[in-house]
């Protein structure tokens, strides 16, 4: 089945587009807008609004019907949300299976000063009614705050013999988040600690995919709840523990992870 945008009738392909052009509002500007939208695959573009913005800029709002569609087959199966363990379950598992508190170090690195996101995960108060990791008896949390240079974070990880690193990145201009996050991974790898710690990043523009790609164990985006993070940590550590015993190696995507079978050796 072909899937198309829906306005008020199946397969009408209705889409809304807006953008500015570095041209004054004129017949040329409108023509350029129309041509661009046609290149995007809009059959019968209607420029419903246009405005000169001064200084040689103009703004356009366009409605039209998209010729493109996607085959519903290529969309695959719906991925089930990971089941989030609850507070009690998490604490019980750690107590029973690990038998000691896990040490977590968290920070916003680089020149990024946004702390609300990482605090939402770490501070006892938590987020949207879900308590933060500090409140879990089975975690020891060190929240280093913001503007932490990756080097400093690494030092603290060693000082505290951390099991988990939580890094937040909010500012993404000029891809500074990727730069900072990659630098941290490299430092950790450089000091041969990568297989000893779980590395998790998060922030409003972080996705799981991105995180895995740059060498983290997980990435959490907007609206993350602390329990989701705690849940991931526990599950991952349990798995690693199993694997450590079996000594087996998993595929590509688990690169960072499979090296961390020695995690209990801190």
């Amino acid at each position: 089945m072909e899937i198309k945008p829906y306005g008020d009738t199946l397969n009408d392909g209705a889409v809304q587009i807006s953008f500015s052009l570095p041209l004054p509002l004129s017949t040329r500007g409108k023509k350029a807008a129309r041509e661009l939208v046609i290149k995007m695959g809009i059959m019968d573009p209607r420029i419903v609004f246009s405005r000169d913005l001064g200084e040689g800029f103009s703004f356009y709002i366009v409605y039209g019907n998209l010729i493109h569609s996607v085959e519903s087959e290529i969309l695959g199966e719906d991925i089930e949300e990971e089941v989030t363990l609850d507070y009690w379950e998490i604490n019980r598992l750690i107590e029973e299976k690990i038998g000691r508190k896990l040490v977590i170090v968290g920070a916003t690195i680089g020149s990024d000063a946004h702390t609300v996101g990482i605090d939402a995960i770490l501070n006892a108060k938590g987020f949207a009614g879900d308590v933060g990791l500090e409140r879990y008896p089975s975690f020891t949390v060190h929240n280093l705050g913001s503007q932490v240079p990756p080097e400093t974070l690494l030092e603290k990880v060693m000082d505290y013999k951390a099991d988990v690193i939580l890094v937040s990145q909010v500012v993404t201009q000029k891809n500074s988040h990727i730069h900072n996050l990659t630098q941290l991974v490299e430092l950790v790898e450089g000091s041969a600690l990568r297989d000893k710690v779980i590395m998790i990043c998060g922030g409003p523009y972080i996705s799981r995919e991105l995180a895995l790609e740059i060498g983290y164990d997980a990435g959490f985006g907007p609206h993350t709840l602390p329990a989701q993070v705690a849940s991931f940590i526990v599950k991952r550590i349990m798995e690693d523990y199993q694997e450590g015993i079996k000594g087996c190696v998993r595929g590509e995507r688990m690169k960072g992870r499979t090296r961390r079978v020695k995690w209990k050796n801190w």
């Binding site: 306005g7 008020d8 009738t9 209607r46 419903v48």
Partner: protein
Amino acid sequence: MNDTAPDDIEILSLPISLKEEAFSLGKGIAEEVHNKVKTYSTFAIERASLRLLGVKGANEEGVPWVNIFIDKCAREGKLSRGALFTLGEVIISNGKTLQEAVEGVATGAIDLGTIFPQDEKKVKELMTSLVSRSIEDLLGMRRKRQEMIDSLTPGEKPLLYVIVASGNIYEDVKQAKSAAMMGADIIAVIRTTAQSLLDYIPYGITTEGFGGTVATQENFALMRKALDEVSLKLGRYIRLVNYCSGLAMPEIATLGALEGLDIMVNDAIYGILFRDINSTRTLTDQEFSRRILSLAGITIVTGEDNLIKTVDAKEMAHTVTASQLINHHLALLSGLPPRLIGMGHAFEMDPSEEDSFLNELAQAWLVRELFPQSPIKYMPPTRFMTGDIFRGMVLNAAFNLIGVMTKQEILLLGMPTEAMHTPYVQDRFLSLENALYFRKAAKSLMGEFRLREDSLMRKRAIEVLNNGVEVLREIKGVGLFEALAQGSFAEIKRPLKGGRGLEGVFAKARDYFNPFLNILPGTIISRGTNYGD
């Protein structure tokens, strides 16, 4: 609507004598109209009476049986006494059921010309008992619906009203359910363009319409069922609306009653001005329609918004007030209790004018205070909406805030794409989240304020009411029909004998017979009372 409107909202301190004059003028004008129209019946009223009795269906070309039947009555000179009388004769003489009798006449199997006159008393008894039974049925349905409503939460005020208008009832159903799930309380199915002009009710489930979906009994039923399902799912009652105006107005009222509609947009003046329907025809139709709606407990909403969509809303605001005062009294005379008389108006002043927000706020408060026991249906900006959908969200925000702040009970939500097309599925979401924000975030705002002594808004409201009274005085002088002919509203002139549908009006003969007239609510007929109030 199911509870009384607030009356703790007085803020304007309108001069009492001015208010009294306004109401007495409105009443006087309405009474004159009422006295005139009750001497007439129309083809549509006769057809509606048949439909009230339960007659349904159409021939193969889609022409409804009731239309053919009534046309034949007219052709045979058997209408001025009332179609129900003729029908009674047919039934008795041919020993048929109601439906069979009508279809028989319509197909020509029964020839009206050859029907023997029957005993008048017998005919009347038969028809009166059929009418009584149908009224009982209607009241039974009304009770059942009320039970359903009572079993669910009624929704918060203002109720959020959105439209569906895809032209295809199946798409409409999906979109209506989606809207309800996103927070809509009321769904209106917009009619296909110019259905007003059809002197019949189209038949069947339909999937093609222009700017709206055909209003048919079958489409009503489909949507009602869908909304009942989603109401039960949500635990919140979702109301259904359609238009009760145009040449087939009384029949649409009937279908509304039969199919469990909650609200009907009902306004003869709209038809006269914007559809060029003959004034006598549609005001006569309206009287009967409103009596049906009253019986069924359906809330009407009037169409004054249309006036200020045509002429300048600031300058002509007082014509809205004048029309509301007439419309309100016409409705009272047709047996509607105030709580079923929804007064329509709109946020349509030029938003680029200084203090337009104040003038809108003043107008909203004025309507609210003039009709404290009636729901107000507040319509959103449309004329000054443009392709700039982002600005559209802002104008709708201003509208929503005023709606909440002045306790308008029904907010018809403006769509960001108003200037382009009937709503897309996401437009309803965007409009609902806009209104839901203000309904919650400004919930208690209306109880916060008094106006300063020198308030511009108070001044404006009094000025509008004053000018409205002025217009009412003029109308009172010449009568509503003549005023319409002179162009008192929206600068449109509609002569008494002009317009569509005049040929379907007839003076009721001395022996005109229609038991519904005795049994439906209405102030004139002694037996008429307001059921269930």
